[in-house]
Amino acid sequence: MSNPFAGWVWNGGTIAFFLISLVVVFAAVMLLQFRKVMYMALSIGLVFLGMAGLYILLNADFLAFAQILIYAGAITILMLFAVMLTRHDEVEDPPLRDPKKWLTALGCLALGAAMLWTIRNTPWSSPPAQPPWPVQKNVAAIAETLFTGYAVPFELVSVLLTVALVGAVILARKEG
């Protein structure tokens, strides 16, 4: 195989891609590594934020900010609330030395290798030179798709969420 970096343009986008990927991987590792629940919640927030960064690089602005708003903002805060409001030892016990760990590591490596091999050998259809719609029309396109092609599923999801909301309120009422 030729130079894997052939054809790369070192512009902001690519640098950002590598930086963000690094942050996401780092945050994901830290999430597993931390022993304090609070720190874990923060790490997962950082992962969400990094994913949003990747979406931006893919020109999916709307998705990116929805991701920040809902995952990095609301869901992380929800987790923090849950951590603060529930009583537990905030520190996990250190993991036991376990032979299974080595097996796990081997399995992970094998999985990684398999995925890499698959990706390299899949005949991808050549990507379009331009994104299918101009950046500015991103939101409008999503809206159009949602409310025309997928109107029924969208409405169904809305109903489901409303039911969940009402259910939550009723449960909370009983508690009080």
Binding site: I15, M38, F62, I68, L69, I77, L80, V139
Partner: protein
């Protein structure tokens, strides 16, 4: 201003330099804005309360806030012994970074130098500002102080609750302009009329939710001195405290910019240059927040929640429905 239009350029040393220069200029400008916002807040509230306000440092006390900032920077950075040290140190930064980042989406003039032309600017604003809540909540928790914890919790609950009516109130404007981009919204107003008129209900919801989102009187519960001493930043001192203050005042500025751009036609106006019009409108908003602070007592925490969910949210929904129906009707007819 092509000099600062670097977004789509290849990354060269020149681009990097222009990037950094633009960033530093905006940063310094914002610091100046915050410093003099503080000064005017103290002056204006002073006058409203029959006092003089700062008048010692420099002519008319103009350097007072600069002196205050210097004092804060020179202060010892105290970390309470029982605090969660890493979180305590990082929380103000989490709170403060998004406050600067959101400014990027706000166009100050028609050619908006320094401003990212983001297609989803309003969503961007709402999303990023929600990160600040994280910083405030963590600061309250990490201080290991009961007042801080209560303040942090209240703050998170309040800001989350009011983010929803705030976002909903913007939807009316978005529907009318047909875009999430603030530049497009301002342009739409130039063609049609200031959205304050057709979106008056939306504006009312916006201004209330914005005040709550900013934790300002009468919604300043998170830092209600008389109950929680200083709320989430009770234990903070020195420049970490300054970070929280900076974030708070930057959001005042940012929300005022947003209000001016979405409801009052942004930079548009006769005779005067665009940036001046924008500055005047933003100042009016800021003045309004100061004015509120000098007038209002504080609302109670349960009333605050009830108000958000039972009054503001339904109003915002009604506004959305009305706007959609009218827009559909106008388009059809």
């Amino acid at each position: 201003m092509p000099f600062f239009q670097w977004v789509n350029d290849a990354l060269t040393w020149g681009t990097l330099f222009r990037m950094l220069l633009g960033g530093i200029i905006v940063l310094l400008f914002l610091l100046g804005v915050v410093a003099y916002m503080l000064y005017f807040e103290r002056k204006i509230i002073g006058w409203m309360q029959l006092r003089i306000g700062p008048n010692r440092v420099g002519p008319l006390g103009l350097f007072q806030s600069i002196a205050d900032v210097l004092k804060l920077l020179a202060k010892e950075d105290i970390v309470p012994a029982q605090a969660d040290r890493p979180l305590f140190l990082i929380a103000p930064i989490i709170a403060f970074v998004p406050s600067f980042v959101v400014i990027a989406a706000i166009p100050w003039t028609a050619s908006h130098p320094f401003t990212a032309d983001i297609s989803v600017a309003l969503l961007y604003y709402l999303a990023l500002s929600s990160i600040t809540i994280l910083g405030i909540m963590l600061g309250g928790w990490a201080s290991n102080n009961k007042y801080s914890l209560l303040g942090g919790m209240r703050s998170a609950a309040q800001m989350i609750s009011y983010e929803i009516p705030l976002g909903m109130s913007l939807l009316g404007v978005i529907l009318m302009a047909g875009s999430l981009n603030i530049v497009d919204i301002v342009e739409a107003q130039r063609r049609f009329m200031w959205f304050i008129i057709p979106q008056f209900l939306g504006f009312c919801v916006f201004i209330v939710a914005a005040t709550a989102e900013l934790n300002r009187t009468p919604f300043d519960l998170p830092e209600a001195e008389s109950e929680l001493v200083a709320g989430y930043h009770t234990e903070y001192s020195g420049f970490r405290f300054a970070f929280y203050m900076l974030a708070e005042y930057l959001y005042v500025f940012a929300i005022s910019c947003l209000g001016a751009a979405l409801f009052f036609g942004g930079w548009s106006g006769p005779l005067l240059p665009g940036w001046l019009w924008f500055a005047i409108k933003v100042s009016a908003f800021i003045f309004f927040f100061f004015w509120l602070r000098a007038t209002m007592p504080r609302i109670r925490v349960d009333q605050l929640m009830t108000f958000s969910w039972k009054v503001l949210l339904p109003l915002a929904l009604v506004n959305i429905v009305l706007t959609s129906v009218i827009k559909y009707w106008v388009n059809a007819g």
